[in-house]
């Protein structure tokens, strides 16, 4: 009698362990499949199939298929214009600025804003400048006092004798010689450009 009781207890314990392990495995399979971008219930079903008469064959085949199939996670995601996730878009940065500009002349941006005219000197003392509609708060801030200019609106980058412009996701947009510059474009060389437009403000680019 004791032996039968012991066997039943052992069987019950083993069954309990198997049941817990099965539920746990199903939960983990759900998570793994979901991390790959597939519906989680596919993993759940694959594990629960071990309860059926087909045993481990189907889950084993499913594992091989899962390992070698294309995962939705790896599918390329189209870039969304103006999306608030700039880290998802690779940005081609300009080369690091040189310590001394080969051409000591700076740049000048001049144009007309709502309240008059504006003339901005880009002398190369900073590696980058922030074009903003708000009053300058830092040495690298260049103010374009116009309602159509965001705060901040765009960034000017100096790399050697070249000048770059990067839009920072402004709603009114930045333009290089009439061509729209989107945030996902990253910094673009404007050394040869004639005018850039921030919102509705046209700024002529010249060497100082």
């Amino acid at each position: 009698m004791f032996t039968i009781t012991s066997l039943l207890a052992l069987f019950g314990l083993s069954s309990a362990f198997a049941a817990v392990a099965l539920v746990f495995a199903a939960w983990m399979a759900w998570r793994i499949v979901a991390k790959a971008g597939l519906p989680g219930w596919l993993g759940l079903i694959a594990v629960l199939l071990t309860l059926t008469g087909i045993g481990v064959i189907v889950p084993l085949v499913a594992l091989w298929i899962f390992a070698f199939m294309g995962w939705p996670r790896d599918a390329p995601t189209p870039a969304i214009a103006g999306a608030g996730n700039p880290s998802a878009v690779p940005v081609a940065a300009l080369p690091p600025p040189m310590a001394v500009l080969p051409d000591r002349r700076g740049w000048r941006l001049s144009g007309t804003v709502a309240g008059g005219s504006v003339s901005l000197a880009v002398d190369g003392s900073q590696p980058s400048y922030l074009l903003t509609g708000a009053p300058a708060a830092a040495p690298g801030d260049l103010t374009v006092p116009d309602p159509s200019v965001a705060s901040p609106h765009a960034r000017l980058l100096i790399a050697g004798a070249r000048l770059g412009l990067e839009d920072l996701g402004s709603a009114t947009g930045s333009f290089i010689d009439g061509a729209r510059l989107l945030p996902e474009h990253g910094p673009r060389d404007i050394s040869q450009a004639r005018t850039i437009r921030l919102g509705t403000v046209d700024l002529a680019l010249s060497r100082a």
Binding site: A25, W27, M28, A34, K35, L60, F66
Partner: protein
């Protein structure tokens, strides 16, 4: 000692046990190999070392450990966004 065991009444039992154990080990190795290959690829695609799939050779708990690693750790190679987070925007 061995000769006595083989000539005694339990000799056949030892032989049977050895054969069963042999086939259990061989079966485990074959099944592990069938599991290691795809799991190696899954680990690599997830950004982990493929050698982690060798845990399949650990009986009983090896599979559970592998699944736990894949299920509860952040994949270095990136994961698909969760539907809930997408819905939240």
């Amino acid at each position: 000692m061995l000769a006595w065991l083989l000539n005694s009444g339990v000799g056949w039992l030892l032989t049977l046990g050895s054969v069963v154990l042999f086939f259990l080990v061989i079966g485990h190795l074959i099944l592990s190999l069938l599991l290691v290959i795809p799991t190696w690829r899954i680990f690599v695609r997830a950004g982990f070392s493929g050698a982690l799939s060798l845990l399949h050779f650990v009986p009983v708990v090896g599979l559970l450990v592998i699944m736990a690693i894949l299920a509860f750790s952040d994949w270095p190679a990136g994961e698909a966004p969760e539907p809930q987070s997408e819905a939240r925007g």
